[in-house]
């Protein structure tokens, strides 16, 4: 039974690692996230290779949780960590987005005023030219 779970989780972690590598290579994943996912994949892989040491003995002794539940718990904790990290990132992006929108609006107003000034001065200079002729 244990070997099946080991194989399943081991394969999953390897797939995760391959996808992460591929995305980094194509520059579709920023380093700050890729590190997190590489770490996650590596940890899961280690657990699937030496489940006895890490889980049955070490982890179970502390928490009293058996292998599969321990894996689920760990996976859940990782996901929690990742989601938390994302909400921090989204907050930062939102505030940067706000700054950008405000700066854009201020520049656009400045630009409109400058353009109006230019057309006005052009018109007056045209008029005065006409008067000279």
């Amino acid at each position: 039974m244990l070997i099946k779970i080991q194989l399943f989780i081991g394969t999953l972690s390897i797939i995760l690692l391959i996808i992460t590598f591929e995305l980094i290579r194509k520059e579709k994943l920023r380093e700050e996230y890729s590190l997190l996912w590489l770490f996650t994949g590596a940890v899961i892989l280690v657990f699937s290779i030496w489940p006895e040491y890490f889980l049955s003995r070490f982890f179970s002794q502390i928490t009293g949780i058996f292998y599969l539940s321990a894996v689920v718990l760990l996976a859940f904790m990782f996901l929690l960590l990742i989601v938390f990290h994302f909400s921090v990132v989204i907050s930062r992006l939102t505030s940067q987005n706000k700054e950008l929108a405000q700066r854009y609006a201020l520049m656009e107003l400045e630009f409109r005023e400058l353009r109006n000034q230019r057309t006005r001065s052009k018109r007056t200079s045209n008029q005065s030219n006409g008067a000279i002729k």
Binding site: A101, Q102, Y104, L106, L109
Partner: protein, 236 residues
Amino acid sequence: MAIEKKVLVIIPAYNEEGAVGKVVESVKTYLPGADALVVNDGSSDRTPEKAEASGAIVLNLPFNLGIGGAMQSGYKYAFEKGYDVAVQVDGDGQHDPKEIPKLLKALEEKEVDMVIGSRFIGDSEFKSSMMRRVGISIFSKVISLIVRQKITDPTSGFRAANRKTIQLFTIHYPQDYPEPEALVLLHKSGHKMGEVPIMMSHRVAGESSITKLKSVYYMVKVLLAIFVDCFKKPTV
């Protein structure tokens, strides 16, 4: 006023085509020396055109940022263009620009950094729903406790700020329901504030951003935000 100060009236407007023109015109009437800036917070109606037609400077945000983001844009404009005083007036017409000189006078005489126009001091006869009054009185108690000074109308968006406060607001301004939170922010940064009685009419057009059902949610959210603010690092 002995020295003529550069005054900017900031009017945030989101889909207020029915009221914004009148507000701007009345600002121009009662404060001929001041500039009116309408911050169009991504309106989908003809708010920017109406505002422009009535003689306001129009700042068009590319999309809706919410009242906090819109107000902050106004303060950023005021700071960059070197205004001495910024007055905020709602775009829906519930604040009477006739009362702005009162705010300006108080800002100078009381030597504070921000003046709030309060509906609940003196003989103002502001009528509103029971729930809203209860809500405002709870805010008033909480805010008064935090800023260690009696604030009767912390949710009033009818305010005047001096340059020191304008500068603070360009760096930090709360997002969703900024009025009560801004007071906590001012207090933490060591700015002084005061209140003057004003008359407030009911909105000319449009609907309040706070409906009855949402008001409880609004209260809990703002109280929570204020609670969190108390633990933030003081700024400036």
